[in-house]
């Protein structure tokens, strides 16, 4: 069970230069939560992808608009919530078709798929003008 209140929360502006800092922080927290380095790196990548999408699609490159990150630790898992304003995300419902993306010469379309393949759950919601991306990763026993 995850606690009601986050173990750690931070607010950042929507700037891509902060992505690496968020990746390092997430990796560190995942490692503290007993994820191995490879899993920790992947969880950090999922957070990078989620925040990149917020900056590009919800805030559309605008410098204003906060992004709140909340980390919740459980004995066997990590929950991350990303809260933001702007355009509500509309993640693709269908599974990504890599061959089609290549044929279409697309450079985007991989981020949400990576998040889904890395994390156990990825859920988007919007309530009272606040968008939320909630992701959970369980630390499965070997």
């Amino acid at each position: 069970m995850f606690p009601q209140k986050p173990d750690l929360s931070i607010r950042i502006p929507p700037k891509t230069e902060l992505l690496k800092m968020v990746v390092e922080l997430t990796k560190h927290l995942a490692t503290i939560n007993s994820f191995d380095p490879s899993q920790a790196q992947k969880i950090a990548l999922a957070v990078d992808e989620a925040i990149t999408n917020v900056i590009k699609h919800s805030y559309q490159g605008e410098a204003e608009g906060p992004i709140a990150l909340e980390f919740y630790s459980a004995e066997n898992g990590l929950k991350i919530r990303i809260l933001f304003h702007g355009v509500p995300p509309q993640p693709a419902l269908n599974q990504m078709d890599l061959k089609q993306l290549i044929r279409d010469k697309r450079k985007g379309g991989l981020g949400v798929e990576l998040m889904r393949r890395i994390m156990d759950t990825v859920e988007y919601s919007t309530r009272k003008g606040i968008n939320c991306c909630e992701m959970v990763k369980w630390n499965h026993p070997l």
């Binding site: 490879s38 992947k42 992808e49 061959k99 290549i102 010469k105 981020g111």
Partner: protein
């Protein structure tokens, strides 16, 4: 702070792009610029050497994806080599290993291009 860099080297008709550091959405323009310059110079046989690449997000993978069709249409290809296990796993996770060749080292990637040229 500069945490990503890309350099290129031409050997015969093959261009090798050396990616170094942390490649995310913040640094992706630098990579795309080098890719566009390479293809613009008529180089369509491209090796991405990731020996010093510590991290890649979908932004960087998108560049490798977005230009593949164009270089293959022109008789070339994009091959990847010398990736760390962690970076390779990310490509594998979304199916790049079904579409791209991942080689142990640059020499092997060069050989693969020569094999294709010899058969053509």
């Amino acid at each position: 702070m500069r945490t990503f860099s890309v350099k290129s080297k031409i050997s015969e008709d093959v261009a090798c792009l050396y990616l170094k550091g942390h490649l995310d959405a913040h640094h992706v323009d630098r990579f795309e610029k080098e890719m566009v310059k390479t293809i613009g110079n008529g180089m369509v046989k491209i090796i991405i050497n990731g020996q010093q690449l510590s991290y890649i997000s979908s932004a960087g993978m998108g560049i490798i994806m977005g230009y593949l069709d164009e270089v293959r249409e022109k008789g070339g290809d994009i091959k990847l080599c010398e990736l760390s296990d962690q970076v390779f796993e990310i490509f594998d996770l979304v199916g790049f290993t079904d579409i791209y060749e991942f080689l142990k080292d640059e020499a092997e990637a060069m050989e693969r291009f020569k094999d294709v040229s010899a058969k053509a």
